[in-house]
Amino acid sequence: MLHISKHNLLSLLTHASSSWQVFCPSKQGSTVNFGWFEGTVDTVAIPVNSCKGAFLPQTEELFTYRGTPETGLSLTGGFDGQKPVLIFFARPCDARALTLLDRVFLEGEYADDRYRSRRARSVVVTVGCKSPLDTCFCTAFGIGPDSKAGSDVFVYEDETSLYFEPLTEGGAGFVAAHLAYLAEGGTPVSVMEELRRAELPLAGRIWVEGMAEMLDSMFDHPVWEKMSARCRGCGACTYLCPTCYCFSVFDAPRGTHGKRYRSWDSCQFSDFMLMAGGHNPRPTRKERVRQRFMHKFNYGVKRQGDYLCVGCGRCIRACSVGLHAASALFDLKEAGR
C-alpha cells in the first residue's frame, strides 16, 4: 500500500494546497479545529468542529448587488468553481456525515448549486480511528473506526507512517498526484485489525434500533420537558454537529450596494421560528429541543432515509450541561419503554 512517513506529511499537504483547497485539523489556541490549511496540521486530536464548513461555510455570500430598489439594481452572484476541496483527516463519522448532507443538498427537486459545486470534485481523506474518545458512539449508527462510507481515500496510521487506500476515482486521482511523496510497500494489517477490534465505550449504552418508529408516538411525551429543562438554548451542539445544516439568509446593505449572505442558524435559538407578527410555533426550549432530536431521529429518517446523527460525540463535548445526542437517545429509550 502507498504510504508516507508522518514527517513528510506537511510537504505533501503544502503541495496539495496548490491544486486543492485543503481543509484539515490544526491546533488553534487551546483547541484543535478543522479549518483551511495554513501550514500546520494536527493528526492526533479529533477536532472540536466538523468538516461541514468546507461545503456549507458558516457564512457565505450569495450575491452582491449594486443600486437600490428605487433606482434600479444589478446582481452579481457568480460562483465560479474554485479549486476543489480536499478534506484531510476526516474521521469515518465525518465522512459518513457528508453523505447525509449530500442527501439534503443534492437530492430532490432543488439541488443547492453552491454545495454541489464545492462537493463535486472534492476528495475526502479519512483516517481510521485508532483511539476513539469516551464520547464516541458511531457504532450505534452502523459506523465504526474503519468505516469507509463517504471517503475517497482511507488512511491507516501506525506509529511512523500513514498508509493511503484510494477508494474512488477522485481518491485515486489525489493519490496519483502525490506519488512523489509516497512510497510503495506493506499493508498495515495490524492497524486494520486494531481498527476492527476497537471498542467504543458508549456502544453498549446507546440504542437506536426502532428509535424512529418509537418517536412517532412520543411527540407529546413528558420526557421532552425533562430533557429540555437544563438546556441553555445556545447553538453549540448544532453548530458543531456534522449533520446539522439549518441556515438563514440575510442582507447586509452598505448604502447603494451590499450583499446577501447565508449563515448557519440553529433551531435552538429562540427566534429561529419567530414570525413577523410575533407568533412563534416553538416558543419554549421544550419545543426547540424536541425539534432538534425529532429532526435527527425521526424526521430525518422519514425524509432522508436515515438518522441524521453519526455518533461523533461533538455535541457531548460541546454541551456545558450534558444535553446531547447520546443522553437524548438514552433518555428517550428509557421514556419510550
Partner: protein
C-alpha cells in the same frame, strides 16, 4: 416611500468658500430616498426658508435635511419653517457642513467629500425619524426660594411683584444672610443694614411672600411646574403670633453662648434674636443650650413672658407643598483659614477674618462699632490685611478667585482710616482685581488714603511683645518686609456651604468640583440649571459681590416669571422612552439618571398560561431632560432617546462607514 429634500446652504462664502456646494448637491441627489436637492446662498434667510416651504409642498417632501450650520444655531429655525409648511418639525435634520467642515478645513478636495458624508449621515438619520409631539404639563404658579439672604430676598420680591406667590425657606431664625453681617458696602460705602433692612421688611410684609425661617427643605420631588417639596419648620419654642418682641425673655435668660452672627466675637442668649433688625422679629430658643431642654430646669423666659408666647412643647412642623419653580439662593460660607498655620489664626486672637472685622466695625457689633482688637480691646494702630487666603491657592485652598475680597479689603482699609485716622494699613496681595463699575476708583481711593499695598505673600506671623510680627516679601522690590502689626485681617475665600452637595442632590442639579452649583451654560444660561424649573441666585453658584448677586437674583426671578407666564409647558419630545417588551427591569437607567426621571413600574402580562407581574422602567417625561445617560446604561437596548434612537444613530454610523 420616504421623500427626502436636501437643502445645501452656501452660508455666503462661509461654506461655499471651502466646500464645493454644487458637488455636495449633486452627490446628495444620488442618495437613496432623496427626491429633491437645492442650494441656497443663505438658507436661513426668508427666501431660503420660503424655498424649503415651497419644496415641501411641490415635491411632497416628508423629510428635510438642511446642510448648513450647527443645529445649535438654526435647527429651531428650520423646524419652525417645516412646521409652517405642515411637516412635523422633528422630521428635519441638520447636516453641519460649516462648523464641522468648512470652518475646520481649508482644502476643498478634503472638505467636499466630508460634507457629502455629513449629508449622507443626516439623510440616513432623517429617514428613520418619526413625527414627535410635545406634550403639555400644567404649571403650579408658586415659587420656592431656598435661602433668605440678599439673593433670596431680591428674587422673592421680584417674583412677588409680578403677582406670583413665593415661599422663602431660611434655615436661620431670621432672613438677611451674610449681607446682614456686613457693615458698609463697596464701592459706595452705604451701610449694609440701611439698604438691606428695608428689603427684609418689604419681603416680610409683601402679601405675596411667605417667609419660613428656622426651616429647611428636606425633599424635592417632581419636575418643572410641579415640584413637590417637603419643608421642616423647626420648633422655635416661641409662639410667633403671641410674641410682641419685648425682649424681656432675652434679658432674663441665664444661658449664653458665642454669637454666630458676630462671628463668635460676642455672645448671645439661649433665647435670642440674631440681631436687632431680625425678620421675623421674634426670638428663638436654642434647644441645644437652653437649660429647660438640656437639664429640665429653668423656664425663666416662660415665667417672665408677658404674653405667654414661650412654648416649650412646640414641635417641628412638616409641610408638603407644590411649587412650579425653585430658586436656589443658599449662599456661601467662609474658608476655614486655620489651614494656614503660618498666619496663626486661632492661636493669635488678633488674627481675624474679614467677616470678623465687619462685626468689629459694625455699630451693631460686639464693640459697638469701635475697632478694638480682640486680645486686649486696644485700638489697633497698624493693621495688616492679607488677601487670597484660601483663594487662588491650589495647595492649601482653592484655585479659583473669590472675587469680592480685593474690594472688601480696600473697603476695610478705607473704613480703618476713617475710624482711626492715625492707623496705618498694609495690604499683602497677589494682584488687585478691581473690575466693576467704580471699583478701580475705589481701590485707588484706599491707596490715596495711605494704605500701603505690598505685592507678595506673608510667610510668617508671630507674636512679640503684644505685637504681631508679620514677615513677608515685597516681590516688586524684591526685599523682605516685616511689619509690626496690632491686628491682622485675613481675606478668607468664599466657599460653598458644607451641605451644598446634599442640597444639589435634593434639587437634582449638578455642582462643580468645589461644590458650587452648576449653571446650564456658563454664558448663555447663567441662572438656569440642567434641571428645568430650578434656577440659581447668588453665591451658591460661585463667588460674587452684592451687586452681582442682586442682578443674578433678579435674572432668576425673571426666568421664574417667564415660566409662570405660561399656563402650561410644552415638554421637549426628545425624551427617553422604554420598550417595555425588552426592558428587563434592572433599573440601571434609573440609577444613572441625573434628573431622577426614571422610576420603576410594575406591569402585568401573560406569560404562557400564567399571569405574571414584572418590573420595568418608566420615564417621567416632565423630568426627563433628554440627556441620554439611560440609553447607554441600558444593556437590553430597551431605552431609546426619541429623536436619537439606537436605530437612528446606527443608521448614521453605517452611513458614515460606507
Amino acid at each position: 416611500m420616504i421623500r427626502v429634500g436636501v437643502f445645501v446652504c452656501w452660508c455666503g462664502s462661509n461654506i461655499a468658500g471651502t466646500v464645493d456646494v454644487g458637488k455636495v448637491a449633486e452627490e446628495a441627489a444620488r442618495i437613496p430616498g432623496v427626491v429633491h436637492v437645492e442650494q441656497n446662498k443663505y438658507t436661513c434667510s426668508d427666501p431660503g426658508q420660503d424655498s424649503i416651504r415651497k419644496a415641501i409642498k411641490e415635491h411632497r417632501l416628508d423629510r428635510v435635511v438642511v446642510a448648513a450650520c450647527s443645529p445649535r444655531m438654526h435647527e429651531n429655525t428650520f423646524r419652525k419653517c417645516a412646521a409652517s409648511a405642515g411637516l412635523n418639525p422633528y422630521l428635519v435634520e441638520m447636516a453641519n457642513i460649516r462648523e464641522h467642515c468648512s470652518w475646520v478645513h481649508s482644502d476643498m478636495s478634503v472638505s467636499t467629500p466630508k460634507a457629502v458624508d455629513i449629508v449622507r449621515r443626516a439623510v440616513a438619520k432623517v429617514k428613520r425619524c418619526v413625527p414627535l409631539h410635545p406634550s403639555t404639563i400644567p404649571v403650579e404658579k408658586r415659587a420656592l426660594v431656598i435661602g433668605g439672604g440678599i439673593a433670596g430676598i431680591q428674587a422673592a420680591l421680584d417674583i412677588a411683584e409680578a403677582g406670583y406667590d413665593v415661599t422663602v425657606v431660611e434655615r436661620e431664625p431670621t432672613i438677611g444672610g451674610r449681607m446682614a453681617q456686613l457693615d458698609k458696602t463697596f464701592p459706595t460705602l452705604d451701610c449694609s443694614s440701611c439698604i438691606l433692612t428695608p428689603k427684609m421688611v418689604d419681603a416680610a410684609s409683601h402679601p405675596g411672600i411667605r417667609i419660613l425661617t428656622y426651616a429647611e427643605v428636606e425633599e424635592i420631588s417632581g419636575y418643572v411646574g410641579n415640584f413637590e417639596v417637603r419643608v421642616r419648620k423647626r420648633a422655635r419654642s416661641v409662639d410667633e403670633a403671641r410674641c410682641t418682641a419685648c425682649g424681656i425673655c432675652i434679658l432674663k435668660c441665664p444661658t449664653s453662648r458665642d454669637s454666630e452672627f458676630n462671628m463668635g466675637l460676642g455672645t448671645r442668649k439661649a433665647i435670642y434674636m440674631p440681631f436687632p433688625q431680625a425678620v421675623p422679629n421674634k426670638p428663638t430658643i436654642d434647644r441645644e443650650i437652653c437649660r429647660h431642654f438640656t437639664a429640665g430646669k429653668c423656664g425663666i423666659c416662660q415665667k417672665v413672658c408677658p404674653s405667654g408666647a414661650v412654648d416649650f412643647s412646640q414641635e417641628d412642623q412638616v409641610l408638603t407643598e407644590k411649587f412650579g419653580a425653585v430658586v436656589a439662593a443658599t449662599g456661601a460660607t467662609q474658608f476655614s483659614v486655620e489651614v494656614y498655620g503660618e498666619y496663626g489664626y486661632g492661636r493669635y486672637p488678633d488674627v481675624i477674618t474679614g467677616l470678623e472685622l465687619e462685626r468689629l466695625i459694625s455699630s451693631t457689633g460686639p464693640t459697638d462699632g469701635k475697632i478694638r482688637r480682640p486680645s486686649d480691646g486696644k485700638i489697633p494702630k497698624t493693621v495688616v490685611f492679607i488677601k487670597c487666603v484660601g483663594s487662588r491657592d491650589e495647595n492649601k485652598g482653592y484655585p479659583y478667585c473669590s472675587k469680592a475680597c480685593c474690594m472688601y479689603t480696600a473697603k476695610h482699609a478705607i473704613l480703618l482710616k476713617e475710624k482711626i485716622p492715625s492707623a496705618s494699613a498694609y495690604v499683602f496681595y497677589m494682584d488687585v482685581r478691581a473690575g466693576g463699575k467704580d471699583y478701580e476708583e475705589f481701590y485707588k481711593r484706599s491707596q490715596e488714603m495711605g494704605t500701603r499695598y505690598v505685592r507678595g505673600r506673608v510667610s510668617r506671623i508671630y507674636p512679640l511683645d503684644g505685637k504681631l510680627i508679620v514677615q513677608g516679601e515685597d516681590t516688586l522690590l524684591g526685599e523682605r518686609v516685616e511689619v509690626e502689626a496690632d491686628l491682622v485681617v485675613l481675606a478668607a475665600a468664599m466657599v460653598p456651604q458644607p451641605d451644598a452637595p446634599e442640597m444639589a442632590r435634593k434639587l437634582g442639579i449638578s455642582y462643580n468640583q468645589y461644590g458650587f452649583f452648576s449653571e446650564a451654560h456658563p454664558k448663555l444660561r447663567p441662572v438656569e440649571t440642567n434641571t428645568a424649573g430650578v434656577f440659581l441666585a447668588g453665591t451658591c453658584q460661585g463667588p460674587k459681590d452684592i451687586p452681582e448677586t442682586v442682578a443674578q437674583a433678579s435674572a432668576a426671578a425673571a426666568k421664574v416669571i417667564s415660566l409662570f407666564a405660561k399656563s402650561e409647558l410644552s415638554t421637549n419630545p426628545n425624551v427617553a422612552s422604554v420598550d417595555e417588551s425588552l426592558c428587563s427591569g434592572c433599573l440601571w437607567c434609573s440609577n444613572v439618571c441625573p434628573y431622577k426621571a426614571i422610576e420603576e413600574k410594575i406591569i402585568t402580562e401573560r406569560a404562557g398560561k400564567e399571569t405574571v407581574t414584572r418590573t420595568v422602567a418608566s420615564v417621567n417625561t416632565g423630568l426627563c431632560q433628554g440627556c441620554g445617560a439611560c440609553t447607554v446604561a441600558c444593556r437590553d437596548g430597551a431605552m431609546n432617546l426619541l429623536g436619537f434612537t439606537n436605530e437612528q444613530i446606527l443608521a448614521e454610523v453605517e452611513a458614515l462607514c460606507l
